[in-house]
């Protein structure tokens, strides 16, 4: 396993908790609405090749939220500042679910931030046929049920989701959920202008989706693919919303192939 450190990045006075590890060129990972799940197998594999920066978004877990930060575009503005603070530019980025929305917004509005972009089960575009599942009106246990197609094929499922949580962890999870509500309540998990803005993206982009994603329909992957010039879409069979947890080996291969 690659060693990682927990670092605090001070972005204009806002302290952002960041997991950092590995070696090689920088790679930014942006987590989903539920929060940063830590240094999982798939993250570790990416750190074999790259220096991974895996922050908890402002307002999540130990990261502070500046008062002005209320929306996904605010989050994108914040992250361009974060990258500037670290002296990073033109780097590789992977965004998971809501983190994919943040990454798309950054790529669409700041064309020198990233050199390659991967979006995994990303929200941000409203599907035409289905709907993005409303995760706020159901319980965290119900969210978890929707997240996986078959939890038994996810090697880290028990370690991440199946164990007893401490009261502190429960508080963090509740706080994360509140931050997601702040950012994504309305319009729910999408922004009508994103599709048009994505026409600006001119870097290699790959979408990765679980075919059985019950949270963000594969149709959303197709819409991203259509909106971004020269992108591709990789769909995993028998896989839900979190390919990086449910099918880590396939995910690692796809990610490393693309990012290389």
């Amino acid at each position: 396993m690659v060693a990682f450190t927990e670092e605090i990045v001070d972005v204009g006075g806002t302290k952002v908790h960041t997991l950092k590890g590995g070696s090689g060129e920088p790679l930014l990972l942006l987590h989903g609405a539920g929060g940063n799940n830590g240094w999982l197998k798939s993250i570790d594999a990416l750190a074999e090749k790259y220096t991974v920066y895996y922050p908890s978004h402002p307002g999540y877990a130990k990261s502070e939220r500046p008062d002005w930060l209320e929306t996904i575009p605010d989050m994108a503005a914040f992250y361009t500042w974060y990258l500037e603070t670290l002296g990073l530019e033109g780097i590789r980025a992977v965004g998971f679910s809501m983190g994919g929305w943040i990454a798309s917004e950054i790529a669409a509005t700041c064309n020198h931030a990233f050199s390659k972009l991967m979006l995994v089960g990303s929200v941000g575009i409203k599907p035409n046929v289905g709907e993005i599942a409303d995760l706020f009106i159901i319980s965290p246990a119900q969210v978890l049920d929707l997240m996986f197609h078959d939890p038994s094929q996810a090697p880290e499922y028990q370690a991440v989701y199946g164990r007893e949580f401490t009261p502190e962890e429960m508080m963090v999870a509740e706080g994360n959920r509140e931050m997601a509500v702040r950012l994504c309540w309305k319009p729910y998990m999408h922004d009508a202008r994103l599709t048009s803005l994505l026409a600006r993206v001119n870097i290699p982009t790959r979408m990765v989706w679980g075919k059985n994603d019950q949270i963000v329909p594969v149709e959303c992957g197709e819409l991203f693919n259509k909106a971004i010039k020269g992108s591709d879409l990789v769909v995993f069979d028998n896989c839900g919303h979190s390919p990086q947890v449910e099918k880590p080996d396939e995910f690692i291969k796809t990610a490393l192939d693309f990012l290389a």
Partner: protein, 377 residues
């Protein structure tokens, strides 16, 4: 010491039986409105409004109305509509609107002028309750629960300024912005109609009520908890250098009177509908993420020992969520509540669930003739 007694009903569409209610996770938010029959509702409204009118005649000093959305438990979807009807139908009772949901409003000056218009039509009888809306209203209005409290406060500040500051003025707030706040309609009562706020236990609400010297109304709360909340109000007021009198405290409870205890216990069972299905629902409906602060979560848990919809008829009476009996019995219980809490207003949900017109009218009559006068000493 005198006591203002208010008549209250949520104007329930109570034609939802146990079998139907049990098929759905809740009677709130997502219970299909295909079960609504507007023609039945026309008859119900006529009946409920007649009962309000009779309550004034019978001797209630005030009439209380509220609003909820997406639920058969409360057909009143807009207190300012019912307020308008009552303003014209009645002539002396206070009209307590408890209240307008501020956070879900996108147009505070419009609310300010609507309430002002009611105050004008009623000749200054409006008591303006300001509410956050229970959690489920954030869903119904799709209003972000994270902003509930700050929108409540900003909406309130703008309404009060609208009532008390000659227009036109500009407002550039976080959630509301206006170029020219200048409604023609301003209230009769000066500086503005009395403002009330209901509480279910959040310490922030008590603190806010003290800051503005508003009447704090405890809703269906255990007596011991209500005592703590009122005590906290009095302490904070004392620290701020003023004494909070009974006019700052109101207590809401379901109440039913019949000729004898035996008859009342039988007819009062109708309240079990109100205490049952309408209170059922997933946690997320009642507490959308961000709606309660950490302190609010703890306070809400302390509000009562177990959920009301898990209490038996007897337990509801023991815990003072429901008072049922002959005039004599009810007088005794309500006197006890009045003395324990030091309240100036008692809000009696007198019609609840499928309680019939006949039973409701008799209860109103007995309250007017016997209960209300006996609570005045």
């Amino acid at each position: 010491m005198s006591l203002d007694v208010y008549y209250f009903t949520e104007m329930p569409y109570h034609y939802i039986d146990d079998e139907l209610a049990e098929q759905w996770p809740s009677l709130r938010l997502t219970f299909p409105n295909s079960y609504f029959d507007p023609n039945k509702a026309t008859d119900l409204f006529k009946r409920y409004l007649d009962e309000f009118q009779y309550a004034e005649e019978a001797g209630f000093q005030g009439l209380m109305i509220n609003e909820h959305h997406n639920t058969p438990s409360c057909m009143d979807v807009e207190v300012n509509i019912t307020g308008g009807i009552l303003a014209r139908m009645t002539s002396k009772a206070k009209i307590l609107m408890l209240g307008n949901m501020l956070p879900t409003s996108d147009n505070p000056p419009r609310l300010a002028e609507e309430i002002a218009m009611l105050d004008v039509i009623s000749g200054g009888r409006i008591v303006s309750g300001f509410v956050r809306g229970i959690g489920v209203e954030s869903w119904a209005s799709n209003s972000n629960p994270i902003h509930n409290r700050e929108r409540f406060e900003e909406c309130h500040d703008l309404i009060i300024k609208t009532w008390t500051t000659p227009g036109p003025f500009r407002w550039e707030g976080k959630h509301y912005q206006y170029r020219a706040v200048n409604p023609w309609m301003v209230p009769v009562q000066k500086p503005h109609p009395p403002a009330w706020v209901p509480g279910t236990g959040s310490p922030e609400t008590v603190e806010w009520a003290v800051k503005h010297r508003y009447t704090y109304a405890a809703f269906l709360t255990e007596l011991t908890r209500a005592k703590e909340l009122f005590g906290s109000y009095r302490d904070q007021a004392a620290k701020a250098g003023w004494e909070a009198g009974p006019d700052k405290f109101a207590f809401m409870i379901c109440a039913h009177v019949n000729e004898t205890d035996e008859k009342a216990q039988e007819s009062g069972k109708a309240f079990m509908w109100r205490m049952g299905h309408p209170l059922k629902g997933p946690k997320e409906y009642w507490a959308p993420p961000g709606y309660f602060s950490q302190a609010g979560v703890a306070a809400n848990a302390a509000r009562r020992q177990k959920p009301m919809n898990q209490m038996s008829y007897e337990e509801l009476q023991e815990h003072n969520h429901l008072v049922v009996g002959s005039p004599e019995t009810v007088i005794k219980k309500l006197r006890h509540i009045k003395e324990e809490l030091g309240i100036g207003s008692l809000l009696l949900e007198t019609q609840g669930g499928p309680l019939s017109h006949e039973d409701t009218m008799r209860s109103i009559k007995l309250m007017g003739e016997e209960v209300i006068p006996a609570l005045q000493d």
